[in-house]
Symmetry: C2
């Protein structure tokens, strides 16, 4: 259960974590491999086990902006698979070969239908996570804005 | 129930909406009045009834960046009151006098403890909402980035 430490699993009990562990599948990741691509239908959530994965977003046809680098075992990516419209809004690329656990959305959905408490906790964890990311992204926007102001003033 | 059309209430049944309506309080808003300030402890959620409210964030001590203008009856603001760390991450100022319904966080919390289904729906709605805002904010960041690239290339 050492890998189930990410934001998505906060507040879940051992029994709930065991049920989730039972529906995971281990996948290997090669250097440069794309795990998923921005805009694609989101079918899986991933838990990093070993290696490194970079999340990025496309700014221009030939330019991607890095959003974050995941290196810690237990790091979660692809959580958009649980929220409408169920599409990845970032791309994930393996930057250092390793392994991840993948969870099929439909399997996790079945667990959540059977256990409303589990669903509630996961939805709360997602809401907290997206709010955190939103605040971070607004901070970045403010930084850009301040830079722009400075350049206009000088 | 005409006011309970905002994102927070999606999927709730008439009985659940009636319970929420019973804990609202109508407040009047004067032109220029601050409903809440960024960073403050978030104790209330608001539903716009009449008038207009602007949401904004502080960039510099004397400069606030507008984030959105709410004008539609049913528009919701202050939803950060439901998510840890329970602090407003924006400020809300009345731009056109009117009225709003306010809901105390602790009262809504009681309803959610008594009705896990209600809690699940609200948490799912919040997760969807924050993910939408996150995607919008990332788009803005990309626009800034593209402008920067253009100015560097020219």
């Amino acid at each position: 259960m050492d890998l189930f430490t990410g934001f998505l699993f906060k507040g879940l009990d051992q029994d709930q974590l065991a049920k989730i562990a039972a529906i995971t599948r281990e996948i290997s990741m090669e250097n440069g491999q794309k795990l998923f691509v921005e805009g694609e239908k989101a079918t899986h959530i991933y838990i990093l086990k070993e290696g490194a994965v970079e999340l990025m977003t496309r700014v221009e046809p030939d330019l991607e902006l890095p959003i974050s680098m995941l290196r810690d075992p237990g790091d979660i990516f692809g959580s958009h698979a649980l929220i409408a419209p169920y599409r990845y809004s970032l791309s994930a690329r393996c930057e250092e070969a390793g392994t991840s656990l993948s969870i099929e959305r439909s399997s996790l959905k079945k667990l959540m239908v059977a256990d409303r408490g589990l669903e509630c906790m996961i939805m709360r964890n997602l809401a907290e996570h997206f709010l955190d990311r939103l605040k971070e992204t607004r901070q970045e926007l403010k930084t850009h804005f301040r830079t722009l102001l400075k350049s206009m003033r000088s």
